[in-house]
Point group: C2
Chain length 428, copies 2
Amino acid sequence: MDVTPYSCKTREDLAQEYKVELARFEACKAKGLKLNMARGKPATAQLDLASEMLTVLAAPEDCYDGAIDARNYGELSGLPCAKAYWADMLDCKPEQVFVGGCSSLSLMYDVIARAYSHGLRHSPRPWCREEKVKFLCPCPGYDRHFTITGSFGFEMIPVPMTPAGPDMDLVEKLVKDPAVKGIWCVPKYSNPDGIIYSDETVRRFANLRPAAPDFTVMWDNAYCVHEFEGEYVPFPDILSLCAQAGSPDLVIEFASTSKITFAGGGMSCIAASEENIGYLTKLFSVQMISYDKVNQLRHVRYLKDRENTIALMKRQAEIVRPKFQVVFDYLEREIDPLGFAHWNRPTGGYFVSFYTLTGTAKRALALCKEAGVTMTGAGAAYPYGIDPADSNIRIAPSLPPVSELREAMEVFCTCVKLAALEKMLDLS
Amino acid sequence: MDVTPYSCKTREDLAQEYKVELARFEACKAKGLKLNMARGKPATAQLDLASEMLTVLAAPEDCYDGAIDARNYGELSGLPCAKAYWADMLDCKPEQVFVGGCSSLSLMYDVIARAYSHGLRHSPRPWCREEKVKFLCPCPGYDRHFTITGSFGFEMIPVPMTPAGPDMDLVEKLVKDPAVKGIWCVPKYSNPDGIIYSDETVRRFANLRPAAPDFTVMWDNAYCVHEFEGEYVPFPDILSLCAQAGSPDLVIEFASTSKITFAGGGMSCIAASEENIGYLTKLFSVQMISYDKVNQLRHVRYLKDRENTIALMKRQAEIVRPKFQVVFDYLEREIDPLGFAHWNRPTGGYFVSFYTLTGTAKRALALCKEAGVTMTGAGAAYPYGIDPADSNIRIAPSLPPVSELREAMEVFCTCVKLAALEKMLDLS
């Protein structure tokens, strides 16, 4: 294989390369593949690891948390043992926890939806009564976050990511606008870049002085124990830092076991100042009597504490790591020498964030689709689904078995090259 | 015991009666009771009946609905088997079902909240952009319904209940106002009256012609299989009736297994026209990836179908019925002869709706509390918590064991009499 960077090649060489890749593409297409790397879904083998949880509550007498019968109504903010579990996981206090159902996304949605209809603790009025609401969106970011704020009609302002987290100079400038009401963050193994916010970034978040009194940092700690390589990486507790900085209510944190136990039957939580938890609990009291406490108890009995959870995640890492390795191997061998693309190399989380030649991501993914490989749509990681550079592609290698993943990466590398060559040769 | 109606007694006789009841009250108080009949909570023995459900999914291979792994992401509107289960329960089509988490209340809340922020299928605009939203509240009704519409600032209009359901003449008149956007209904064993809407009432609901194009009947079928006496009572499928009447989108129906399996870990659903389900599913897609599908599968494997569910409910009835019998016995013996109060005698549901002497319900419940018996607050069954007659009291006998229930009813009868006598003697 010729490994000269595309930029050093003559037009004739590129045209020749194009022919080679086109032939590879046609060969891929002929296989009639049907592969999916669109979403960060756990593999079946990961789900199987948590099977003991299915029967950890086997009889009526197992269903009590102290004197509380998990099977009956009550305990809106969660079972005490579940609050203690999350406090241990997130380095906060049990009083700072509200335990939810299987979806942390729905808790985030509810916080935004309640801000819209009722207002948050420090809101002068519900956000639906504001003339304009703006929301900061570090990007590339998590498409479902942006879909939420988009669905409420907020103006979404992109904030570039740096290797240390969102560009904090820009964030600090933008929050001076009182219409800016919040920001989305995935602080550990950010989606999709896999970046861990630096201590300095976390500190600057805790010390933000936004103009809006109800400005809220939506701190989606989705990957808090999700290392797939190396040891567990401790991470600062943002809630204490906010309290120390005199802004205890600035941040609302979210986490879940969706990628620890079952993606379709996990346990989620909100962690926030006691005052915020009190305020939100009052709002939730209108909405329900409690989330599923039997499942909360099932989780706590099975996962026990952070130490035991991390031990489970190490077993998951054995399944996840080889898949990321396949991605890295392909990219390093097939793409790196050509010099037109770059990507991150995370040690946790669920994604590889790939930046191809500007203006060719959409085309590359259309080619992938043509060859039977479905990826997250180009632009998905940007507000309104628009990547101004048309460059970022999110690779989600967790679901397919390694053999399928190899086939998918073969297709992916071919399509990315083909799209780049088309552009360089003005064929598109 | 003197059983002359109070209305036939002289003032002296009433004063004598008052002394007797006051002595009984003091004796009750001296016992230092701590009893609770505030909420319709299932008893532990009822919860125990569903224990097999805990282990019905025991291994990874149990977790599939056909090719779908319930443990993983996906299937936003619910597992196909769960939709089929609810379709069987409610006499509708699986395509008309969206399966939720453990709380049907939260599904109702979400429908109202989305109407407020985004609008329903036929809304000219989100309800937060309407100048005024009014909502019809048949009363006495379910306090948590009224709390939802109250929390969004809707004007709640009381509609009296008749033995056949809400006063439909009034409903038909009120829906001519385009600001009236919906009505709360518990059509079978209404909360708290235990009334089953007549076929005529159901038919009139299906044939409503409201001025508001997005008027919605919130059809909370909470007690669809909850007979505690006698055989299962079939109930018309409102969705077909609406379709036949040319208004398929008029009604959104809700149900759950909270009082079938576990109140703290059940399965809920929305049933509505396919178009409404499609519209709501699109809104829900912003909010979450799916509700807990493992719990959905657990329920379907355990409950199987309507026939089997009704068989379980018959076993629950053996536990529930004796408790209602205690309430009826006390009321018939202690209160009925005195002629100042009346109550319903339902054969299903969770409540006895008691109407005491006008203007004395609050006082009676304050006395109960003083004697250590907590009941649902007076007025709770009315919008804004205001019972204009101060007469209705909701008795919820399901939770306490029979022995405690006897003690509680002893206190209750005494306090109701005492409050009535205070009023008749102008002592209050």
